[in-house]
Amino acid sequence: MAHSNSNIAESALGHGLCVRACRYLHSCVIATTLLAIGGRAYAADEAQKTVEPSTNESSGPSAQGLLDPVIGESLCPLPDAIWQELVTLVPRERLLARLRGPGKANASIQVEDLGSMFRVSVLDKVREYREEARECAYRAKVAALFVALIIDPAALLNAGLCEQPPCSPAPEPAPPTRIEIQAPPPALPPRTLVRIELSPTFITGLGAKDLAAHWGGALRFALGRGLVVPVLGAAALWPADTTVGYLQLRQWRLPVDFGIRATLPSSWIDFYGELGFAVALLSERARDLATAKTQTGIELGGRVSLGARLARRAGLTPFISLQAEFFPDPPRVFALPEGVAGRTPYVWMGACVGASWGM
């Protein structure tokens, strides 16, 4: 049955059955909207190889079976907005009966906001739609129509449907829209739980007469599936020659940082920014003093970073990032007889290009 519903939906979206549907509807608005949807949306692969069932065990049967018929942490569209649109298309009782009728597992309609896309799941059917303008009301209508087609396509074709409140009055017909059927892209798997990034890195301190170019390797971990996750990183750097004031130094650093990463997903590239604390072990040795000593200090400060990676959810993908570390009280470098030569850099800039592995 689910399969036949899906076929009906495909037909309605892709092959102009709306013309016939209009004979049964009081208004052509729904059908023409479907045409628009078909033109703008990417149909996801309906094969349910990678899609999790959309049952909501936690909601459980309530007294009326009405709890959370639409769920999901989506800001655009809001679950409530979908429900409001849905009940204008399919009678509320029929919806609930299909979702949570006797002898059926409790199910909900799930919606996910993917940035320029959104995903709707109902009764084991999943669709992803591209809608880059993020018109949330429009998204809610599209999601409601998809759900209605899955749950009860006959309701849409029922001529008497809109005679009953709370159906909306028929708006003016939309102008004809060119329909382009596109090959359905594969459904995106969920975000990875752990992301490991390994890369060569370049870090230099600003302010020194001779920039200390530290080359080395960087390793970062981002933990969690959300858009904002904790992140931890470290770098192992080769020593470099630099100057602080009148002193020529051999410098070595071991920076470590921890903070949060906020990701802005899109279909091709995920952009992210990081904000956190930075700690660095800093070692300096004079290169041209009569008596040279190696001294080690600790830098404490903040770190910001911007990065981008190809939007593959799992496996290896390339990434690039830029970072800046700020230390308000860097160590002072001292030697006899001239005394304090200056401070180590207040600002360190760096760049990484490497591979990101999502698991």
Binding site: K293, D329, R332, F334
Partner: protein, 256 residues
């Protein structure tokens, strides 16, 4: 769990306390220094280079004193007396003799409690090997002068010829009742690359180039040797002496 968190915080705090806000002392260009803070002349006699000592022939004296000090508590006090005639150059001296680098900065702080009239009064000296065959001999003397009543100044004497012309238009003033620093750069070379440069309280007053010693043997003396000094005994305090690869200057440090 709470214990583990506490221990972690303690370790992190300890590391931060050790490392943060700390000066990184990466070394020193001071080859040798004497601050007299041990209350003795051990810094001179421990033979950092070839040979060092302090000496005074009676009635002249040399001692470590706490009457005046440039930094810390102690300074060397050199007195000279019976200087009506002093053809032998008898006085009080602190010597670093031989084994010194072929080029280095030589710094000492002096305190002159009162102005002195004089015929000559040497307070710093470089010696080298001169002649044929080369033998240890006096080369440059830095002298105090008394250009007018109550005024003290400096001149530099080359034992091979005459006074070296100072590179300042007016005779520099040496302060009385205040510490002043004399610092010299000396390069030992038997050709025109030899050099003697002198700063008084950071102001360059001499920059001379020419042949100095014939060999690499160099001696540096902080002395009080004079003739016809008045009043007697003529007292000179000396503190914070150093031999270094870079200039100490008036603000330089000899210890952390």
């Amino acid at each position: 769990m709470r214990t583990r968190v506490t221990n972690t915080l303690l370790v992190v705090s300890g590391l931060l306390a050790l490392g943060c806000g700390r000066d990184l002392d990466v070394g020193s260009d001071v080859l040798w220094s004497s601050r007299f803070e041990g209350g003795n002349f051990a810094e001179w006699t421990s033979a950092a280079f070839g040979f060092g000592n302090e000496s005074a022939t009676a009635p002249n004296t040399i001692e470590v004193s706490s009457e005046h000090a440039h930094q810390g508590t102690y300074a060397a006090k050199l007195t000279v007396s019976s200087t009506a005639t002093n053809p032998g150059g008898i006085g009080s001296s602190l010597v670093q003799n031989g084994g010194l680098p072929t080029q280095a900065y030589y710094s000492a702080w002096y305190y002159l409690p009162q102005s002195v009239t004089l015929y000559y009064w040497v307070i710093m000296k470089f010696r080298a090997e001169l002649g044929n065959p080369p033998t240890q001999a006096e080369l440059f003397d830095v002298n105090l002068t008394n250009p007018s009543a109550g005024k003290m100044s400096l001149r530099v004497y080359d034992h091979r010829s005459r006074d070296l012309p100072l590179s300042v238009p007016e005779t520099p003033d040496v302060p009385v009742n205040a510490w002043f620093q004399l610092e010299a750069f000396y390069r030992d070379a038997n050709d025109s690359t030899g050099r003697l440069t002198l700063w008084l309280d950071g102001q360059q007053i001499l920059d001379w180039q020419g042949a100095t010693g014939l060999t690499s043997w160099v001696a540096w003396d902080v002395v009080s040797v004079g003739e016809s000094l008045s009043p007697e005994p003529a007292i000179l305090y000396v503190d914070d002496c150093a031999i270094s690869r870079t200039r100490v200057g008036p603000t330089g440090l000899l210890a952390e």
